[in-house]
Subunit: 275 residues, 4 copies
């Protein structure tokens, strides 16, 4: 099936960001997404729901229809509809409309868990906004490149909180609030991450001593992953400088924001830059 002019034009507007129409579309979409999230939040406030419940119902259907049309158009004009449907943003776009339709199928009590879940899942529309901030990819890439190290750090923290939580269960015991090992592990996480709710605190002297060790450990070991990630990023930035060569004089060492070669003044080819 060959693509026609309508599809091409729609594609430039909906997926592109260079044209005037594309920019207008994007700004409109951002505003509508934010509005739909705002409505969802207001809806969750008891008094608001009691007072304006009917309005919210109507407005929400308006948003859902708009996002449904948007999703249909994206499928229609995309050169590879299947790839889009399976992509991260394709799934997010689908999830943005599904809950309202499913909720329609199960009418009834308003605040049952399942219904509330469906209503709230619409909050994932916030992910649609990520498309509009290029740099969010930089952060995601940074998280991804260090994900293995962060995972190991998680793993080490998990082992530590399991051990500290279990010891605390033995020391304080159910009679002082540490009712089970999983709950004691929850305490250890609250303590080690330095959150410290204070809903569960040690009461014996040994318990306080162990809690102190847990805190000091949590306070100190955060320096290790920070160090690893920072060192790696510093190296990545240096590598980037070393691997960007001038197409004219082949010299490396250009800064990341350089457009022209600092040695011969010729323009640096954009293809070779990977910033």
């Amino acid at each position: 099936m060959s693509r026609n002019a309508v599809q091409e034009s729609l594609y430039t507007t909906i997926f592109g960001t260079e044209t005037r129409a594309g920019k207008t579309f994007d700004v409109t979409l951002i505003i509508i997404i934010l509005a739909s999230i705002a409505v969802l939040m207001l809806e969750s406030v008891g008094e608001m729901q009691a007072k304006y419940g009917d309005w919210f119902f109507t407005i929400e259907w308006g948003f859902t229809l708009f996002f449904t049309v948007e999703y249909a158009l994206r499928l229609y004009c995309s050169p590879a509809p299947k790839a889009y449907a399976k992509s991260f943003y394709g799934i997010v776009d689908l999830l943005a409309i599904l809950p309202t339709y499913i909720a329609m199928l199960f009418p009834g009590a308003n605040y049952l868990m399942a219904v509330r879940l469906l209503r709230v899942l619409r909050i994932f529309r916030v992910l649609k906004l990520m498309r509009y901030l290029e740099e969010s990819n930089v952060l995601l890439a940074a998280l991804k490149s260090s994900s293995r190290k962060i995972f190991i750090f998680f793993y080490a923290v998990m082992v530590l909180v399991t051990i500290f939580g279990s010891l605390m269960f033995v020391i304080e015991g159910p009679e002082r609030g540490f009712t089970s090992i999983p709950y004691s592990i929850y305490w250890a996480i609250v303590t080690m991450t330095t959150v410290g709710y204070g809903d569960l605190v040690p009461q014996t002297d040994i318990g306080k001593a162990l809690a102190s060790i847990t805190m000091l450990m949590g306070y100190s070991i955060i320096a290790v992953p920070t160090g690893i990630i920072t060192a790696q990023m510093g190296q990545q930035m240096t590598t980037q400088r070393q691997t960007t060569l001038c197409p004219n004089c082949s010299k490396p060492g250009h800064e990341n924001d350089a457009v022209f070669c600092k040695f011969c003044g010729s323009e640096l080819s954009q293809k070779e830059k990977q910033t």
Copy 2:
């Protein structure tokens, strides 16, 4: 209008810091600013206000008149009064005196919100102190140069707290204190930033599990922006830069071995190099 000798002399004293008179003026001003902030703080203490309210009123008018004269003199002796009035410190200087005058126009009940706000806005005089610490500009520059990255980090954190907060609203629900999505997002922020007030804590087992994930995430991802900022600063500090500007596009920040401008490709004049 040509500047006369009085203006020149005042300018050196008020804006300058090299002369003896300039230094005396600066030290006096710092002491008066600190005194005015101290008075404002004491004024906010109920018992103090009840006891010494009249004294505070008189003293505050003294401070306001002093700062009014200072502002007038700065405007008078500045070679570019308009530019000063529009500058950051010009606005701060004006804000330091306005609240007292406006409060005079609306006498009456002492602790109404609006009046309290006007009284407290005088606290911004603290910003006048920033003029006297050169290095505060270093920190501001550091914040500015990494503001885009910090903003993206903020954005990512906002998306995460929106999702975690909403899920928590579904799991715990209004019957356990999570009365609305905005309030649940507040909980998510308190938890993710590892503040952990403890005024709102999960009570179900699933809620505690989700809270644990939120905490561990907040504890870990702080390493990413720290890493990015540190790596960038490290590179900036290790790169020796010329003090010269590009003769064509006037942009600074060229490395020592640069012969051509990295922004526009024109040759950097060797005479202007000073390193």
Copy 3:
């Protein structure tokens, strides 16, 4: 005693990870370890223990017998059984089975401290999992290489919390909850590590001022060890090192351009350089 074929084959399966059988064994072991920890956690929940206590007892014996056989086989097939038994994982493997046997010797009341401790010590089986994540060694190495610096940081923090805690004891005193110096030091640790349970807070104005200083100090000094560790790691990662050992003193870690050993001054043999 020469090793026979059975020992060799078992060794490849149990200690190795390259063969198909070895991988199957490892995956099975991981699942059983996780299952045994899960059972232990459920066992600690009062209601579960009351309901399924007998089942847990039987299952736990199953796990213990399995780990006993595993330990025996490891001892049998290891080329150096004594070295294995004394190694970190050898001791962990032994600790994974001992508590159940010891608990058998002391039957009786279920929730006495000692019995609970024995039951919970089985949680250390979680350490057996560390064998299966190579990178955990990277983290351990990072912790080890910076352990001296972290220790000094600990030491400095200990001195600070001792002083701040003692001053707080004097300021607030037993009548406001700070009943003794050790307990006040516990407060100082909770505050300085930014955990902030809130179970003990200053109530006088001077106490609040001192607490503010403690918090700001805890908030700031964390930057120092992070900085030290990060800088050291950055340098270690950027330095390209030879894989060769010094022929005289056998120390590793020489840089690529090194011709002589930096520790003993003897010439590094060029044949052994492999970079």
Copy 4:
């Protein structure tokens, strides 16, 4: 006055750490310091004081006499007694004995503030321990070299908490616990440093929004000083490598733990190394 043999010998034992006698003296002193701190801590526990008060009194006098003799001997054998008396450790040594003597002059009620202060000041003996950990100087040097930056960070944080605290005072007001500006600033410090006691939390919606901004700011800006300090330390470590030259071949770039030149194998002069 020329120094005699007794003075020389005492000096080597008390101030030195190389001889066997010097080491024995140091270890003994560390044990006695720790013991005296332990006694002080036990003394602060109400029940202990009630039960063993007389014993503590006697033991404390023993410690004080011992430290008095130590101080006298240090003064006697030091080649520059005045310089020692004015040095950091000289003052610490004096402070370690003074409180007991002063307390003797003012007998009477046990738990008056002033008496308690005198008793507790003995805790500063903990500072005597710093003499025995060489690396504590490394940390102190690190803190000192970055003290200006940490101070500016403090200063910026102070400005921020003043502004946030004052705004919160206006928003929440005395009727919701924010009784005065200083107390609201205390809240801002508790929040911004991510300690989060929870003894004072915002209750209005605007208050919660402002608190969220305060938390996110505190969570993010910690990355800036960490970045600055880390970058500076990295540079210091590089500089150290560059400025250590081999006395034989004059080449720079030796690692910090190098004893021999890696290029020519000659020993690096210890005088030129500054680690």
